[in-house]
């Protein structure tokens, strides 16, 4: 399974939930599969998906699912220490770990070599760290949501992207509809 297959299997779970999605292919693929006002797509700033997601989770009560990638987490590796030390039980970080920089041509990342993001997350002090296969991801995500505990899921999958178009929407609109969804879900 590649990232797109994981997104397809978790799309029903993501429906009407707050989702912060990583830059490039992940956002474009999610946009094609399940565009909704409660999705926040990143257009720039590789690495900050988990930080944006944690920020949302810390100031309101609804569950927040940040869909990140191994390359992006490596870019902002210290985020795992911030997450561990500021636990938000409504926060789930799903790292789609395909061992490659997918959006730039599948160049290998260190996460596919000697570095284990699962071990890094644990060493940073994150408590509920789950490594699973692509096939198990939807079940693990359901489990994390019902546990009510902050969870880091590292989903190991194959590299590869599908051919989807770029997101033809305005960033200010993306931000404002996301913000409004948060208000509605909390009201």
């Amino acid at each position: 399974m590649i990232r797109y297959d994981i997104l397809k299997t978790i799309a029903p779970i993501l429906k009407e939930r707050l989702v912060v999605c990583n830059i490039g292919s992940p956002s474009q693929e999610l946009y094609q599969l399940l565009d909704q006002p409660s999705n926040f797509y990143m257009f720039g700033t590789m690495g900050l998906c988990s930080s944006i997601g944690l920020g949302v989770a810390l100031v309101q009560d609804q569950p927040v699912i940040a869909i990140d990638g191994d390359g992006s987490v490596l870019t902002n590796l210290a985020t795992l220490s911030t997450i561990a030390n500021n636990p938000a039980d409504n926060f789930i970080l799903l790292i789609v770990d395909n061992g490659s920089y997918g959006s730039t041509g599948d160049q290998p990342t260190y996460a596919g070599m000697a570095t284990s993001l699962t071990e890094v997350a644990r060493a940073c002090g994150c408590r509920n760290v789950v490594e699973c296969s692509a096939e198990e991801t939807a079940a693990e995500l359901e489990k994390a949501l019902s546990s009510g505990k902050m969870t880091i899921i590292i989903s190991k999958c194959q590299p590869g992207n599908v051919n989807v178009s770029v997101i033809d929407d305005d960033p200010v609109n993306i931000a404002s509809r996301f913000s409004n969804s948060i208000k509605e879900l909390n009201s």
Binding site: T45, L48, S51, I52, G55, A78, T82, V172, S179
Partner: protein, 168 residues
Amino acid sequence: MPTPTDKAILDSLVRNKIGFITSVPCKQLAGVIELVDNHEEIYHIPSNKEDEGMGLCTGAYLGGTRSAIIMQNTALGVAINSLVTLIQYYHIPLPMLISYRGEVGEKVACQVEMAIHTKPLLQQLNIPYFHFTKAEQVNGLDGILQHSQMCKKPIAILADASFWSSAS
């Protein structure tokens, strides 16, 4: 020990409903950071790097809480991409309380190197900035914080060594 000026900065942040603050420390900002950390109406989250902090602030703002970042001017070198493709691109209001290291009174020569680039970088990025040189300028902070929310832009408060040494 926080000074009355540090307290005045905190009071202004609270009055303006800034409920989420991230910081990367500087000796000059120690008093403000201590006050922010101890204030029950503010969630203070230290970040490891300023671009990470800008991600956190963006999330908090979208989640309905006004946010701010406390950092050194050297941070501009770290955070330009985040300022442009996140904060400015998505119209996120972000007050930045910046210790303006490297101005007259600085003891660490290397800090001058980044001080030279600080205002030109802010100008190039179209980020409004306010240079604080005297403690009484803290009285203008309310207006600056309101301005940032109104125009949904990042705004820099550059507080230099003269400002901090005149603080009592």
